[in-house]
């Protein structure tokens, strides 16, 4: 083994001396043979001739010796590369064309694969991620199969389960950070003490939340910063541990810095959310994750969850009626099923593109190979083996695909940069996509495969054709009929594949177009939306309402402003709090609909362009449905969306009727005073939602503002800022966008898909055309003499029926 290796190494590194030795050895042999023959009386010339004849072709013997030494693979590969380069150089047009078509396919597939890899293949940054699960509440009796947790149910689950090493609840929060430069809105997660331990990560600095701190809801004012926020805002200063931050006018102590990572961890900060005995059991607000204990199977855990749910619903027959839990694998965290499907479709599309590229190169090489048949025949007569010649052609294909992948990677790098700078939302972890080792490996593998695929047919051509036939000096060399068919088949395949892509992309673009044309319900033109994040103090003593009313007054007075309003949750982008709702005359145990609820100002409907179909809009006398502290419950009035009205009051006029809000949780009675047109509150891809509108007031603020203007919406943004700053300089105005932009962003994944597939399918015919060009130009060049002949011979004699007679 070792000696074999040394032998080979010597052969490689001392190639020249080895070659020299071989020369000397054979010369020595010839000399001896010649002398022997001359001794038998032959002339020197004759002896020399016979000696050479006896030995066989000198080059061939050498070649076989090299083969026998077993170094030929590497050595001839080098030689093949040199030859291949020379061959390509002789025909730079073809080389460039083939490289370009391949590099386009390569770039496309590399980009898609890098996203694919970042999204679906890269492991999550958590310990034993396969044991991580996400848990939801269900109310299957009401058709709700996935809902957030209520706080109390989470504490009960945490206390009563026997299957989880750790469970944690997550709630998003936003806060105004003051005292460090201008007021700034920060967002993050309020998490229970075991959150980081559930994920199996430890702070990179400072400490984790302690179990001793785990009490008193949000009263324990400790935060852990997100890694990115810490770097950007505090320059990664380790001194931050123990320092304090002012969030919503409360002092918080920084105790640690969390590692970066998707999902869950890339927040600006994490607040501790501690246990409290008086937790709410009515409002579904918390995301819950859990880590299965070692050795606990999914089924065991599910059974355990059901048992806990049963116990809770027995103890709280009203609030927790029909409670169940649902558990999902963490493998869904990376990407939703929609994203997965989209990525697979794109991966399929780029495979087609690559195949077309392969066939192109194969075709071009085939055509050229046929034209070079004489050269190949000569080479084979001179002692090159068939395998060697096939390798030679294969090497050209591999070189081409090598160039292709090099250029393709450069293109992919640029394309990825552009896509990342566009911050296309809806593609999870797009920012993480990079040309890492995985992707480079993929590209290298693809290049090798492409080279082999596209070199296969050309390398095998001429395998069967006779040398003598090819050598016969003739311009009418036929190629072979089989090769012609092969090329035709490949061109057909290319065109078919590119049409497949075109049709697919056409469908996708069309459905995207329809998505954009779908009736939103609300109007997006000339609307500006922005958030004003009001601190806790604004919710007391009517401070917030006073601010809002003064703000509306000031903004409405601005020339061009047609309507202003506000809503608790931004349409399309915002959250979706919901409630069970039904007619209060409904006593039967039917399934009550689940509707989203939104706190709105009276001006909201006009501002977003939602028509009031029946009844009236809220006015100053309509108070929030929640009672103010120390006040009796108000006369509750609500407005509902048209679809909801038809669900609870089929064939009746709902105006003046009464409904139960928070069905089975609060059962608050409320009067319906108006019906509003439907809207696609949850985005264009969702059905129009069932919505209940609740009036704003002293204890019910709406923080998402909408302004309808006759002028340019973006001119309004600075006006809004200055009015807010004038009213309260500590209030940040954030997320200022045109409503149109909000909608556009919400369909970014669909747009992304449509654009990418559109680009790919645009490339496909281009590539296919190149292939056809290759074949045609080849067959034309083959028929040059025939065409010349036809031109030279008078037209009457040519075999063109119909022409000859004229």
């Amino acid at each position: 083994m070792i000696s074999d290796l040394l032998f080979r190494l010597r052969a490689i590194f001392r190639r020249h001396s080895v070659e020299e030795e071989l020369d000397n050895e054979l010369r020595f042999h010839l000399n001896h043979e010649i002398e022997k023959l001359m001794r038998s009386g032959l002339s020197r010339e004759e002896a020399s001739r016979r000696a050479r004849l006896a030995l066989g072709g000198l080059d061939q013997v050498k070649e076989e010796c090299r083969d026998a030494r077993g170094v030929s693979i590497l050595e001839t590969a080098m030689q093949d590369i040199r030859h291949g380069m020379r061959g390509l150089w002789r025909n730079p047009g073809l080389a460039i064309l083939a490289t370009l078509t391949l590099s386009l396919g390569m770039a496309a597939s590399t980009v898609v694969f890098s996203i694919f890899q970042a999204t679906l293949l890269r492991p999550m940054p958590f310990r034993d991620a396969d044991r991580l699960v996400e848990i939801w509440e269900t109310r299957l009796d009401r058709g709700i199969d996935q809902a957030s947790f209520t706080e109390a149910n989470f504490w009960d689950l945490r206390a009563q389960n026997h299957s989880f090493e750790e469970v944690a609840a997550i709630h998003s929060f936003e806060a105004n950070m003051t005292g460090a430069g201008p007021a700034e809105k920060v967002s993050g997660s309020a998490v229970t003490a075991g959150f980081f331990r559930t994920l199996g990560v430890s702070p990179i600095l400072g400490r984790d939340f302690l179990y001793e701190e785990d009490r008193g809801g949000m009263d324990n004012r400790v935060v852990i910063l997100g890694a990115r926020f810490w770097r950007n805002k505090f320059n990664g200063n380790p001194e931050i541990i123990g320092k304090t931050l002012r969030l919503n006018d409360q002092v918080y102590t920084v105790v640690g810095v969390a590692p970066a990572g998707e999902p869950w961890l890339n927040e600006q900060m994490f607040m501790l959310f501690g246990y409290r005995p008086d937790a709410d059991r009515g409002s579904w607000e918390f995301g819950v994750i859990g880590r299965l204990a070692t050795g606990v199977s999914d089924d065991t855990a599910r059974a355990d969850l059901q048992q806990v749910a049963g116990a809770i619903s027995q103890s709280f027959p009203n609030e927790a009626k029909g409670l169940g839990f649902r558990m999902g694998s963490s493998s869904q965290w990376g990407a939703s099923n929609d994203t997965r499907r989209a990525l697979w479709v794109l991966l399929g599309a780029v495979t087609f593109l690559l195949l077309i590229g392969c066939m192109n190169v194969a075709n071009l090489l085939l055509a050229r190979g046929t034209a070079r048949q004489r050269e190949i025949a000569v080479r084979s007569v001179l002692g090159a083996s068939r395998a060697r010649l096939a390798r030679f052609v294969m090497m050209e294909a591999l070189l081409l695909s090598g160039f292709g992948v090099a250029l393709g990677l450069a293109l992919a790098y640029g394309a990825l940069r552009v896509m990342q700078s566009l911050e296309i939302s809806g593609i999870p972890r797009l920012a993480d996509a990079s040309l890492n080792l995985w992707v480079l490996g993929f590209a290298a593998g693809t290049a090798a495969l492409t080279g082999l695929l596209s070199g296969l047919a050309p390398a095998l051509q001429g395998w069967g054709s006779g040398v003598a036939a090819a050598l016969r000096e003739s311009d009418r060399q036929k190629g072979s009929r089989g090769q012609g068919r092969l090329r035709a088949a490949m061109v057909t395949g290319e065109v078919a594949l590119s049409f497949l892509l075109l049709v697919g992309a056409g469908l996708l673009i069309r459905s995207f177009g329809q998505l954009m044309k779908v009736n939103h319900g609300f109007q997006t033109e000339n609307r500006l939306v922005f958030s004003v994040n009001m601190p806790e103090a604004y919710w007391k003593d009517g401070v917030g309402k006073q601010f809002m009313d003064r703000f509306f007054e000031r903004l409405s007075a601005v020339p061009g402003v047609i309507a202003v309003g506000a809503v608790g949750n931004r349409p399309v982008e915002g959250g979706n709090p919901g409630m069970g709702i039904d007619s209060n005359s409904q006593t039967a145990d039917r399934q009550s609909p689940w509707a989203g609820w939104r706190v709105v100002t009276p001006g909201y409907f006009r501002a977003v362009g939602l028509p009031v179909l029946r009844g009236r809009v809220f006015d100053e006398n309509d108070k929030p449905v929640w009672a103010e502290q120390g006040q009796p419950a108000p006369a509750r009035r609500v407005m509902i969306s048209d679809r909801l009205a038809k669900r609870i009051f089929p064939n009746e006029d709902p105006v003046g009727k009464h409904v139960n809000l928070w069905k089975r949780q609060g059962d608050w009675d409320a009067e319906v005073i108006g019906v509003v047109g439907d809207s696609r509150e949850r985005g264009l891809t969702s059905d129009p939602t069932l919505t209940v509108y609740l009036p704003y007031g002293r204890n019910a603020l709406a923080t998402e503002f909408v302004a309808h203007t006759s002028g340019n919406v973006h001119d309004l943004a600075p006006v809004v800022r200055s009015i807010v700053a004038d009213l309260d300089p500590n209030l940040p105005v954030t997320d200022i966008r045109s409503f149109q932009e909000v909608v556009t962003r919400s369909v970014a994944p669909q747009r992304f898909n449509a654009i990418l597939l559109g680009v790919f399918s645009g490339l496909a015919p281009l590539l296919a055309t190149t292939g056809i060009y290759g074949v045609l130009s080849y067959s034309m060049s083959r028929r040059t003499s025939e065409i010349g002949l036809r031109m030279a011979v008078p037209i009457e004699y040519s075999i063109q029926p119909g022409r000859g007679g004229n």
Binding site: D4, R8, E25, F28, V61
Partner: protein, 112 residues
């Protein structure tokens, strides 16, 4: 050409055996090996000179023979091949299996 027609072409794989046997007697260069094979077989076997050298290189790669440059009796530089330890073992093995093969084939031919 006439002469060559009467000679027996070597069956596949026997060339290695003959080379090993030939140089077992002492180090030889390529030309001498081909001459020796023909002499010892009384010109009955034809060793294609063209296939001799690849075979030598192959055997060298296997480590059964080793080569060194030396000076001939006529004071010329030549590449001499000699048997290695494993080559000697290989020679014994191959000789043995060749004997058994020919004996077996012979028995069949005799009885038939």
């Amino acid at each position: 050409m006439n002469m060559a027609d009467e000679r027996i072409e070597l069956p596949q794989g026997t060339l290695d055996l003959l080379i090993l046997k030939t140089i077992a007697l002492g180090p030889q260069h390529g030309w001498a090996i081909s001459e020796r094979v023909q002499q010892m077989s009384s010109d009955a076997l034809q060793v294609k000179q063209g296939s001799l050298y690849p075979a030598l290189h192959r055997l060298e790669r296997h480590g059964w023979i080793k080569a060194r440059w030396s000076v001939t009796e006529n004071n010329r530089k030549a590449k001499y091949y000699e048997l290695t330890g494993s080559g000697r073992k290989q020679l014994e093995n191959q000789t043995d299996s060749w004997r058994r093969l020919t004996a077996a084939v012979g028995r069949i031919l005799d009885t038939a």
